[in-house]
């Protein structure tokens, strides 16, 4: 995997929302790399900034959100572009959106406009990024729909989104995102809004497509099972910080950060029944407007070191095997 060229490098990214209630530091110093063909999982509780990280990459952070710090470098043909420096309405970023980097959204019901057929919405993106006629675009859309397992794609292409089931809509969404063969696909909670039985199908589909098309994948989820299914690298986020990142097999075997440990312990295992003791993390996520000083996790941390964790922000510590963790426990003086 390490031989694959670097595709996207996010360095010390911070995205804040400015409102009358104050400044919401949704993403606050996040760094990660993705190589071509790699699959990265970003996990964390809701509100930890994982979706905003994705939106920052595409420069589609809504409303009063702003990238205040950091670099997002996209590498293509040996050259790199800093996406943060681009005009978010400009030509350059619009060619990257949907073309180089595509996104699958959480709610297929809300993500499609109900007043146009899925064919209309898929051919739109094809014609935007590929030089082809309307009928060629339609051909490609049908082919793509077939590829994501849509039954009778020649007819379904003219269906309105409200006429499709949740699973079919999510397939259409994936077809739309993949229709221009992006180098990177960002899937924001791709299985959260679909039935459990459909979830497995969607995951299987994404895994196959990722392998066949050789694209890189960022999966954003709160469901660690999704990550273990799809990803070879994991980044855990808490209150806008990347608290730990490591290869998937490493993080599930030997988690370092107390938050990751807690997160893994709180996942129920199937078949364990009533005998299983769930071990949830104590307390709840603090309001992002009142971020704790020092390490953001210290009020809930079982390994809390007084006068250290609540004062100093832990630096990122590089451990063996590409394992990075932000925790005072691992700081060597």
């Amino acid at each position: 995997m390490t031989q694959a060229p670097l595709l996207l490098s996010v360095d010390n990214l911070a995205t804040h929302f400015f409102s009358q209630e104050g400044i919401l530091e949704a993403v606050d110093g996040v760094s990660f790399d993705i190589h071509a063909g790699e699959a990265l999982g970003i996990a964390g509780e809701s509100g930890c900034g994982k979706s905003v990280t994705a939106q920052s990459i595409l420069r589609i952070v809504p409303g009063n959100g702003k990238i205040v710090m950091g670099e997002i470098s996209l590498f293509k043909n040996g050259e790199s572009v800093d996406l943060v420096q681009l005009d978010d309405r400009g030509q350059e970023i619009r060619q990257i959106r949907g073309g180089e980097i595509a996104m699958v959204f959480q709610e297929p019901m809300a993500a499609f406009s109900m007043v146009y057929t899925i064919g209309n919405q898929i051919t739109e993106v094809i014609r935007l990024h590929q030089d082809c006629s309307q009928s060629e675009a339609r051909e490609r859309a049908i082919e793509m729909l077939g590829r994501v397992g849509m039954p009778k794609p020649e007819q379904t292409i003219d269906a309105y989104p409200f006429a499709l089931s949740g699973g079919m809509r999510q397939r259409a969404m994936i077809a739309m995102a993949l229709s221009c063969h992006p180098a990177l696909l960002i899937a924001d909670e791709p299985t959260t809004a679909v039935d459990v039985t459909i979830q497995a199908q969607v995951l299987e589909l994404m895994k196959d497509l990722q392998r066949d098309m050789g694209m890189a994948l960022i999966v954003i989820t709160h469901d660690l099972a999704v990550i273990s299914e799809l990803c070879n690298r994991v980044m855990i986020m808490y209150l806008g910080k990347d608290v730990e990142s490591a290869p998937a097999d490493v993080i599930f075997r030997e988690p370092k950060h107390p938050y990751t440990v807690g997160l893994l312990r709180s996942v129920p295992e199937l078949g364990e029944g009533h005998s299983q003791e769930l071990d949830p993390i104590t307390g709840s996520v603090p309001s992002p407007y009142r971020r704790p000083a020092g390490c953001p996790f210290h009020p809930r941390c079982p390994e809390f070191i007084p006068d250290v964790c609540d004062v100093h922000l832990p630096p990122q510590v590089e451990l063996a095997g590409g394992h990075r963790v932000r925790c005072h426990l691992y700081v060597q003086d």
């Binding site: 939106q55 595409l58 589609i60 809504p62 309405r89 619009r94 060619q95 990257i96 959106r97 949907g98 073309g99 595509a102 996104m103 959204f105 959480q106 709610e107 809300a110 993500a111 499609f112 406009s113 109900m114 007043v115 146009y116 739109e124 993106v125 935007l128 990024h129 309105y160 409200f162 739309m176």
Partner: protein, 328 residues
């Protein structure tokens, strides 16, 4: 789509029938009939009243029959295209209305298009630049527009127009075209006069429409599908028109139905101030003198306009939103 339109048109027939009953009841509701107010008018002018003559007139116009008989006679005549005779004007109702309805419609349609042409771009602007100086400016103008009575606006504009040009902007034609046959020059002359009543009648509606458009669009801009469209690489302008704008037009389009008749109501004061030969002043006169055939016909025509307006807005809605095509 065609099935949808056909079904809608067929549904209009029973609705019109119900409307005719209600119109008739409303017109009959005040005590007395035209002959009573006629007698009153004669007495006021100190003229002799011959009770026998009044009774024979009453018989001649069928005012002595029971209410339901008169209703069916009236309805039967309307079905045959005969709207009856105006007792006050002593002319066929159809002629009276035909003389005035086109002007009412012209003013309505002109103010309708004026209102939409002003409101939609401003609503778009205000929503996409919420809380900007421009947004506040148009909001202020909008509230002033909502709060200003039409007739006051008409008087103000008349006065300014007179001060600025020395002309009186009254009526629909200049003197030289008043009785001239239709020509292109006459049409241009009509347009020159039409803008004023259109503006006066349309102002309040425009202000309301701006608010509706702005609020709808603000809601829609927050929706996930807007972010999805953005993530596909669409430019802001194209995206705005194709996705949120089309949905935001839904409530605006559904107001078309009641815009038509409201404009006829709104036209009354403006017509009185500007001296326009339209339906509204005629209608008020007919109600005052209990000229039932005339009043009833006007109510029927306004109701029909409402139904036509509703039909139009349903068709526009079905075109805008495929989910509506299947329903109803």
């Amino acid at each position: 789509m065609w099935a949808f339109i056909l079904r809608r048109v067929l549904l209009m027939a029973p609705t019109l029938l119900v409307v005719s009953v209600i119109s008739f009841v409303i017109i009959e509701a005040p005590p007395g009939d035209f002959m009573d107010s006629y007698v009153n008018a004669l007495l006021q002018e100190q003229e002799a009243v011959d009770p026998a003559e009044i009774e024979s007139l009453r018989k001649r116009y069928g005012l002595d029959s029971p209410t339901y008989v008169r209703y069916f006679r009236w309805l039967g005549n309307i079905m045959q295209g005969n709207l009856g005779r105006s007792l006050e004007w002593n002319q066929p109702v159809s002629k009276l209305i035909a003389d005035r309805l086109p002007w009412s419609l012209a003013i309505s349609v002109a103010s309708f298009f004026l209102a939409y042409a002003i409101a939609i771009p401003i609503g778009l602007y205000s929503a996409t630049r919420q809380y900007s100086i421009g947004d506040y400016f148009f909001t202020l103008i909008g509230f002033i527009g909502l709060a200003t009575p039409n007739f006051l606006l008409a008087l103000l504009i008349l006065w300014y127009y007179f001060v600025a040009t020395g002309n009186v902007a009254v009526g629909l034609f200049s003197d030289e075209y008043l009785i001239a046959p239709w020509s292109f020059a006459k049409f241009i002359d009509l347009l020159k006069h039409l803008w004023l009543p259109a503006l006066v009648v349309g102002t309040a509606g425009t202000a309301g429409l701006i608010r509706v458009m702005r609020a709808n669009l603000l809601d829609e801009l927050e929706r996930p599908y807007v972010m999805v469209a953005r993530s596909k690489g669409l430019s802001e302008g194209k995206l705005l028109v194709k996705y949120p704008f089309r949905i935001a037009m839904n409530p605006v389009a559904s107001t078309i139905g009641w815009t038509l008749p409201t404009l006829v109501n709104g036209e009354l004061l403006a017509s009185l101030v500007l001296g326009l030969p339209t339906i509204a002043p005629l209608f008020v006169g007919a109600l005052l003198s209990q000229d039932m055939f005339l009043a009833g016909s006007v109510v029927m025509i306004l109701s029909t306009l409402t139904l036509v307006g509703t039909l139009l807005s349903d068709i526009v809605l079905a075109w805008l939103d495929p989910r509506i095509r299947g329903a109803i």
